[in-house]
Amino acid sequence: MTVSIHPLKKYTRSHITRTTTCPGCGIGIVSQAILRAIDELEFNMDDFVFVSGIGCSAWIPSPLYNTDTLHTTHGRPIAFATGVKLGLPNKNVMVISGDGDLAAIGGNHLIHAARRNINLTVILLNNGIYGMTGGQTAPTTPRGLTTITSPYGTMEHNFDITPMVVTAGASYAARWTTYHPRQMTRSIKKAIQKKGFALIEAMSQCPVQYGRVSKLGKAVDMLKDFKVNSVKINKARNMEPEALLGKIVIGEFVDIEKAELSEECMNLRRKMMEAM
């Protein structure tokens, strides 16, 4: 028995035959992790609407995923997705975009969507750099790294996105690297099923831009770096801040239940209509 087609291809548009990413890019690993989560939950692609912004990772669903996909302006996918979810509360609405899109230009929408606790699944791919535009520094670039727009090393501190979103009010938040695709799929499954704002921060290798400026090297070297430098959150909680410098804390940061916006809106409408 030999397969003639990849089993996850049933979720992708048949006329899209190649992925758009550079060789070794982590985006494809995350893309697969998402589709595998949908597959394992036995969802249909029509149960989803995907919304993405601008940047390499925004091209995960657009044009690959075979369902309704909205490819939006830079930084705004969460804002668009908020309207989609409020209008279609019974669909799963997933935002897939990068750190530049969601945490820099779109940072305000990210924290406010978490505050509202609207039932969105946000997959934020964090590669620590602007890949598509040629390797500029991002709010996630580690301090001191030399990039094309920080030729003397970044002087700024970087965002710690997942804890920020937890503080803003998310119901579920987890961080994994592309070295942990199985755990990532497990978290995506929980995020999809979570009634509330759910964030998966996927640390992802960009060998072409980040690998070059960080001198980490190729995709394989970057995966090795993820392997060596990842620290499970339970372990990290008992570590001194100095010991965590340069480490990636992985795992589930929050998993709680609380009132969710799209359902609250439905309840309000029902209550008001009944009060006629």
Binding site: M1, V3, H6, T17, T19, I27, I29, Q32, T178, V220
Partner: protein, 86 residues
């Protein structure tokens, strides 16, 4: 025995990517000598005898270019969570 399929045309090459060669716990992949249409050298498989069916190569391949079918009846241990150790 697990069955491996490599979609050569989808692959972006062992030289440039090579994640499969790194992630296979048995190191069963190596670059082939024949280019695909895009000019990349996809991996070839050194034989399935040692394959545990862990599917690492399939799950880590960024280009949906590898499929591992676990042989039914073959109780190969799932080594997939190898990377989850503390």
């Amino acid at each position: 025995m697990p069955k491996i399929t490599i979609f050569r045309q989808a692959c972006k090459g062992v030289d440039d990517c090579g994640i499969c060669t790194f992630i296979c716990p048995k190191q069963l992949f190596q670059a082939s000598e024949e280019m695909n249409d895009a000019g990349y050298l996809p991996p070839e498989y050194k034989g399935e005898r040692e394959c545990t069916g862990c599917q690492n190569c399939m799950i880590y391949c960024p280009d949906f270019a590898i499929v591992v079918e676990k042989d039914i009846g073959d109780e190969a241990p799932d080594k997939g969570d190898e990377n989850e150790q503390e």
